[in-house]
Amino acid sequence: MTAISCKNLCKTFQQGDQTVVGLDHVSIEIDSEEVVCLSGPSGSGKTTLLNAMGGLDTPDSGEIRVGDLRVDLLDKGQRADMRLNEIGFVFQAYNLIPVLTAQENIEFVMQVQGVPAELRHQKSLAILQEVGLEGLEDRRPAELSGGQQQRVAVARAIVSEPTLVLADEPTANLDSTSAIQLIELFLELNRKLGITFVIATHDTRVMSYCRRMITMVDGKIVKDVQQDQAPLAASEHNAISQT
């Protein structure tokens, strides 16, 4: 099944007097339960593509489908609701709301969704355990290490059980150990929960873990390859176990 499909996405920005091409006729299909790595030099359009997929930004032209939804046709409020309910986000930094504790940050999305308090507590505690942060639920972001902060962000991204998580440079501010732990957490969640991950990165540590690697330059997809050595993504894992 297709998780995301993009057809002919174009997007340009004005930067001073210059027009910068963000996306240049990008077409791409990502199946559900894939773990896809989006790489390329800075300014190549990774983040723009990710934002377009997540409904944070609208393309100038082209079509985006997430599941059955035509994202490009939604209005602002509907896109907000889509982000709230269908998609998880992990950003490079400033992922968390500083005045809320780890647990409150995870519950924040559910609160906005209107999930009852008791269920929220259960779920947030369970998910904190899942990402290996039990015991740290009452700490505020400033009291957590970078790796821990990103884990909270991941926990928040998956707590509302989205089918798709979009991660933008999630490891950029992390040391090697934390980075590898984080990407392993992604793969584990992919295997266990069947969540599709699209990770924009230029961190080679991350790339080596992904089966599918899409490379962008100047807003175009220049390479889209399956790697052999990478650990198994959920789709293949399932396929193998089924045989």
């Binding site: 983040t47 934002n51 997540g54 944070l56 930004d57 059955d68 939804l69 035509r70 046709l73 939604l74 209005d75 602002k76 409020g77 509907q78 907000a80 609701d81 889509m82 982000r83 709230l84 309910n85 998609i87 986000f89 950003f91 400033y94 992922n95 968390l96 709301i97 500083p98 005045v99 809320l100 409150e104 924040f108 999305v109 609160q111 906005v112 969704q113 209107g114 928040r156």
Partner: protein
């Protein structure tokens, strides 16, 4: 579009979350919040305190003015207000009218003779206002307003003495026990003269009053002026000068039925009609209080807007994050507004407490004797007691909350309309 139907929308905003966020955000920059709180408290204090001072001043002026008029409602010959001459007198209330005036709506009433006259000692002469009063009915009211320093006050209806102000005694170079001559005219414009002994000397808080008014008994006045059973005015008091509707209706009705028994009509007027200066001062003060409250608020509003603009500015990325996570822009607006509400409410609380405390602390009055003569020009005594009007308190609070929220709308609205992509990527 089928697309849109698939998107769930939230019925209720998660108020608890918003309140938590707003409250904690408020204290992130505690210095700024503290300064802003101080500013709001001082502003609110100034609004309420100043209003209370003004109200106290006007109230004092009105009480004095009305006691001097005197009365909450007066009954006159219809021409008297225009031409306060002895020619325009009215009869003493008959027994039916007296019954009506002795009913519960009226707290007290009396009738008096009031004519311009000249008083002469052996050495000097002065123009004065002669008040012929019924000591039994009026003694208490008068002695409430003035202090008897020498001698005694008028005691009986036929008392043959005169009570003068201290200032007038000095001017006339007379003293207690001396005789003075009072000259006026009778209704036929014959000069009328009476010699009376000074039996009492009073001091009034307003020195000008001492020179202006002298008291003799009503009977002596009527005899001097040759007006048997005639008076200049009937003064009627209710319970509170601010709320005279009941007493005014009652007196008007009683006067109408009295009129049916009289050869010439008389009329009842509330104090507002009789003294335009006094009644306009209440409206002027209402306007002044409102303008003052709004001016203080505007001075505050710049700081408030500034604080919120900065608060939003510092949190651009966070707001971007919330928007990116799917928080509806309206909720972001609410969050900022809530923050502003907390700030305003705290400031109001402090300001109100300060104001009430300072008004309470000055309940004995502020001594104005240094500029007493200046205040006398508007008829205010030399002690100013601030008066807290609930109306002013509510106006100040309502203005701060309502206009405060209005001021906060812009930064809050701007915050909600950030583009999450740009907000998130904003550099430190």
């Amino acid at each position: 579009m089928q697309n849109a139907d698939q998107i769930r929308t939230n019925a209720l905003p998660p108020l608890g979350t918003l309140m938590t966020l707003a409250w904690r955000n408020l204290w992130r920059n505690h210095r700024r919040t503290a300064i802003m709180l101080a500013a709001i408290s001082v502003g609110v204090w100034a609004m309420i305190f100043m209003s209370a001072l003004m109200r106290g001043m006007v109230d004092d002026m009105l009480k004095r003015g009305i006691d001097q008029l005197p009365g909450h409602v007066q009954i006159h010959n219809p021409q008297f207000l225009d031409d306060p001459s002895i020619v325009h007198s009215l009869p003493e209330p008959d027994s039916a009218m007296q019954d009506a005036l002795n009913q519960a709506a009226v707290s007290k009433w009396f009738s008096r003779v009031k004519v311009p006259a000249m008083i002469s000692s052996e050495r000097e002469s002065r123009g004065v206002m002669l008040l012929g009063i019924d000591p039994e009915a009026e003694r208490e009211t008068i002695l409430n307003g003035v202090e008897l320093t020498q001698g005694r006050f008028l005691e009986s209806a036929g008392d043959r003495g005169v009570v003068l102000g201290e200032k007038l005694v000095q001017r006339l170079e007379t003293r207690l026990g001396k005789r003075v001559v009072i000259t006026s005219q009778d209704p036929q414009n014959n000069l009328a003269e009476i010699g009376l002994r000074v039996i009492g000397i009073y001091q009034a808080e307003l020195r000008s009053q001492e020179e202006q008014f002298l008291f003799i008994s009503k009977q002596a006045a009527q005899k001097l002026l040759n007006i048997e059973d005639q008076v200049s005015e009937v003064a009627v008091f209710g319970d509170d000068y601010r709320d005279i509707a009941r007493v005014s209706q009652h007196v008007t009705a009683a006067t109408e039925s009295w009129n049916s028994r009289l050869p010439a009509k008389v009329e009842a007027n509330p104090w507002q009609t009789i003294n335009g200066f006094l009644s306009s001062s209440v409206t002027v003060m209402d306007g002044f209080v409102l303008i003052w409250i709004i001016v203080v608020f505007i001075a505050l509003s710049f700081g408030l807007a500034n604080t919120l603009v900065m608060a939003v500015f510092e949190r651009v990325r966070e707001i971007g994050l919330m928007l990116a996570l799917g928080m509806r822009p309206a909720l972001v607006t609410w969050q900022i507004l809530l923050e502003s509400v907390f700030l305003l409410l705290l400031g109001l609380l402090l300001g109100n407490i300060l104001a009430v405390l300072s008004i309470y602390a000055l309940a004995d009055g502020i001594d104005l004797s240094g500029v007493a003569q200046g205040f006398e020009m508007v008829g205010v005594g030399n002690t100013l007691v601030p008066q807290l009007w609930i109306k002013d308190l509510l106006t100040a609070n309502a203005v701060v909350i309502l206009l405060g929220l209005t001021t906060s709308m812009l930064p809050a609205w701007r915050a909600a309309n950030y583009d999450p992509v740009r907000a998130l990527s904003k550099a430190t």
